[in-house]
């Protein structure tokens, strides 16, 4: 095995990858309508801002880490309530986390080489999947970052026999668990990988007695401190049933790989593919198989992909966990082939050109996915995305409030079993009531008399002369907007 620790370290590759990643992640974060998951995360962050009490949400299976990291952004922006919030404030932390994810291959540079790490960083910087979900206010990118840190610290601990790195790994694992329940799957894949790579198994066995105990204690302490007991127990109690049934998110095995390799959501739309990363990852896994870290990452990615593909419950952002491993291996594939061609300059140049084309192709797709069609159904990364119509509805209700004597204190009744993401789009109105059903007679009367009612129409028929309009919130969900005709006509004037 070649020794790579003596390679001269230059900051240029790190800075180049960082700049590339940020260029795709920071601009126009407000572009896409707020997804229901994002609207819920925004409300949770505001609750943490207001109460200073973070908590693991066993219903959503997500922890408070994203909220805790978002609170300083909100503080700096002068936000005091949800009404002050803008979409970019809640998407900034995932965007920065996504850029840091692109730097994580450098944590493995000692094992895979700086060149491979740089190329892997480029894949992560421009991968359409990584770019798209870096611009999404969900905890997935933080989770990928934290688990990458666990693997990197674990490798350092194994390589140097220093327990301190194990504790850091335990800390990162605890924070990952407090971030999102699927951390358990990712950490499980890492444990399986340790068990299946003889060198890793030997090193862990050697240090187990003095390091593993403190690392587990660090893990438990950090998870409990951040997420409370729910962080350790909720996934096993509730999520297991959902994960195995799939609920509304049941998809067949092979769904993730199909999305990544060859995806055409609508027949008249374009084909999307990140197959270049997969092909180069297989090449890297094969050519770098002599190195334990390459075998470790190969097995980690395959096991994690197997987990996710086997479980009926699938949401597309979950693929980022194993796709991160594939991107690192793709960097190895490029670097190993580059080295193998050192005596053939012509072929080397052709290889470099081919890789550059692949990077540009991925970047072009990332740009189209995130900036041109961020909420279009022809985009395979769009999933249960709020439709643009809900933005229009929010603006219209604001306009109605401006024409109402009570202004933003105008009563708005929302009667719908699942109103999200409407709470986000009505956040600046101070008297908005949400009912799944009208529970009692007085509530029913108030709902019917409200100047503005937004409802699943078979639940309520508002009183008086009304103008009725219809607005979509999510794919297949259409709600009825009912407005007093007087108010409507005042707003039009």
């Amino acid at each position: 095995m070649r020794k790579r620790g003596s390679e001269r370290r230059s900051p240029v590759p790190v800075l180049a990858v960082l700049a590339l990643a940020l260029a795709f992640r920071l601009p126009r974060l407000e572009l896409r309508p707020m997804h229901t998951d994002e609207a819920i995360e925004a409300a949770r962050a505001i609750r943490v801002l207001e109460t200073h009490r973070p908590a693991y949400d066993p219903a959503a299976f997500h922890g408070p880490v994203l909220s805790l990291l978002t609170v300083p952004v909100l503080g700096l922006a002068g936000v005091r309530s949800l009404a002050d919030g803008e979409a970019w404030m809640f998407r900034l932390v995932p965007a920065v986390a996504g850029a840091l994810v692109a730097l994580t291959p450098f944590l493995f540079a000692g094992g895979i080489g700086t060149g491979a790490a740089g190329v892997a960083g480029a894949w992560l910087a421009v991968s359409p999947a990584f770019v798209y979900w870096s611009r999404d206010a969900i905890p997935e990118m933080l989770l990928v970052l934290l688990v990458a840190a666990v693997l990197a610290f674990g490798r350092l601990a194994a390589g140097r026999g220093a327990c301190a790195w194990t504790w850091w790994a335990g800390l990162a694992a605890g924070v990952a668990i407090a971030t999102k329940e699927t951390a358990w799957l990712m950490l499980g894949a890492a444990v399986a990988s340790v068990a299946l790579v003889p060198e890793a198994r030997r090193e862990v066995s050697r240090d187990a007695g003095r390091c593993i105990g403190p690392a587990v204690a660090t893990l438990a302490a950090s998870a409990l401190l951040l997420g409370g007991p729910g962080a350790l127990t909720a996934p096993f109690r509730a999520w297991t049933a959902l994960g195995l049934s799939g609920g509304d998110h049941a998809h067949p095995a092979g769904w993730y790989l199909g999305l990544l390799i060859w995806s055409r959501p609508m027949a008249n739309g374009p084909v999307w593919s990140e197959a270049a990363i997969l092909a180069l990852a297989i090449l890297g896994a094969w050519r770098g198989r002599a190195r334990p870290i390459v075998r470790f990452l190969s097995i980690y990615s395959v096991v994690l992909a197997f987990f996710y593909e086997a479980i009926p419950y699938k949401t597309p952002w979950c693929l980022l966990g194993f796709w991160w491993g594939a991107a690192v291996l793709a960097g190895v594939g490029v670097a190993e082939t580059w080295s193998a061609l050192r005596r053939r300059p012509g072929r080397r140049a052709a290889w470099a050109a081919l890789v550059a084309v692949a990077v540009v192709h991925l970047g072009w797709q990332a740009w189209r996915a995130s900036f041109v069609w961020p909420s279009d159904r022809r985009n395979p990364y769009v999933y249960a995305q709020s439709v643009d119509d809900v933005v229009r509805l929010g603006a219209l209700v604001e306009r109605l409030a401006a024409a109402h004597a009570d202004g933003r204190a105008m009563l708005v009744a929302v009667v719908a079993p699942d109103p999200w993401p409407l709470p986000w789009y009505l956040r600046r109105l101070t008297r908005v009531g949400f009912w799944a059903v009208a529970e009692d007679a007085s509530a029913w009367r108030a709902i019917r008399l409200a100047p503005v009612v937004i409802a699943t129409p078979d639940l309520v028929r508002p009183a008086g002369d009304r103008v009725i309009q219809h607005y979509g919130t999510r794919p297949g969900v259409v709600l009825e907007l009912s407005v007093n005709r007087d108010l409507w006509e005042r707003a039009l004037r």
Binding site: V197, R289, E309, P457
Partner: protein, 251 residues
């Protein structure tokens, strides 16, 4: 799954080297239809020249793309509930034909994002990819030049009907000139907040279905037909699958 497992075992290294939408379609419906309630003609409506001899209008309908009432469908409001039943027959004067069949449709300078404008009058009304033309975001219109004045009995429009959706600000106008300056008459307008700037409309919104929207043209005489829309509850795009203009040439 098997491929993943094989790859996993292969990667394990020494000692571990032991060894991967179709919606139910109903038969094509050929039916007769009748006029819709809630249709208004804000312009002058000429008298029928053959009110007593009207015959049912024969329409060739596409396959239904979704069955029954969509989720969250409004009941008893200005959006018409999808009944699942065919419209009753709509009666037209004898000799009424689709005057728009195969004629070029203009989009006022808007280039389609998907498909071509000729799909609007090509007779293909199916809710399948390749059957519709898609224009971009916001208020868009398409215009059909009938080539000569016609006595118009009904206009049928299918936007995209592959899933339950309501198109916004649907306005249908006819006129005697291509710029819609002379003798403009509005046959349908559900733009309640006057977004399109064509006047406040009081017609009902409706869910797109395979039956299309039938607009009673009340035998107005016109050469140009213009249809507006402003995105839908599903997205901001404007899709037209087919427009049929039923009438008789004016001699």
């Amino acid at each position: 799954m098997k491929a993943l497992l094989a790859l996993l075992l292969l990667l394990a290294g020494p000692g571990f080297a032991a060894p991967a939408k179709a919606k139910p379609a109903k038969p094509t419906v050929s039916a007769t239809t009748t006029g819709d309630r809630g249709v208004s003609a804000s312009a002058e409506t000429p008298r029928s020249s053959a009110a007593d001899d009207r015959v049912p209008l024969d329409l060739k309908l596409p396959k239904p793309a979704f069955i029954g009432t969509p989720r969250n469908v409004p009941a008893g409001t200005t959006v018409e509930k999808v009944s699942g039943k065919l419209r009753p027959p709509f009666r037209v004067p004898p000799g009424t034909v689709n005057l728009a069949a195969g004629l070029p449709a203009g989009a006022g300078g808007s280039e389609p994002l998907v498909g071509e404008a000729k799909l609007i009058t090509d007779g293909d009304k199916e809710a399948t990819d390749g059957s519709y033309v898609e224009f971009g975001r916001g208020l868009k219109s398409v215009t059909i030049d009938l080539g000569a004045n016609g006595e118009l009995a009904a206009i049928l429009v299918w936007h995209y009907h592959g899933d339950p959706r309501v198109y916004h600000d649907v306005v249908v106008q006819v006129a005697d000139d291509p710029d819609f300056i002379t003798n403009v008459r509005t046959l349908y307008n559900n733009d309640a907040d006057n977004t399109a700037g064509l006047g406040v409309g009081r017609d009902r919104e409706y869910f797109e279905t395979y039956e299309g929207r039938l607009i009673d043209a009340k035998l107005v005489k016109a050469r140009y037909v213009k249809l507006w829309s402003n995105g839908s509850t599903a997205d901001e795009m404007n899709r037209y699958t087919e427009v049929e203009v039923y009438g008789r040439p004016v001699k």
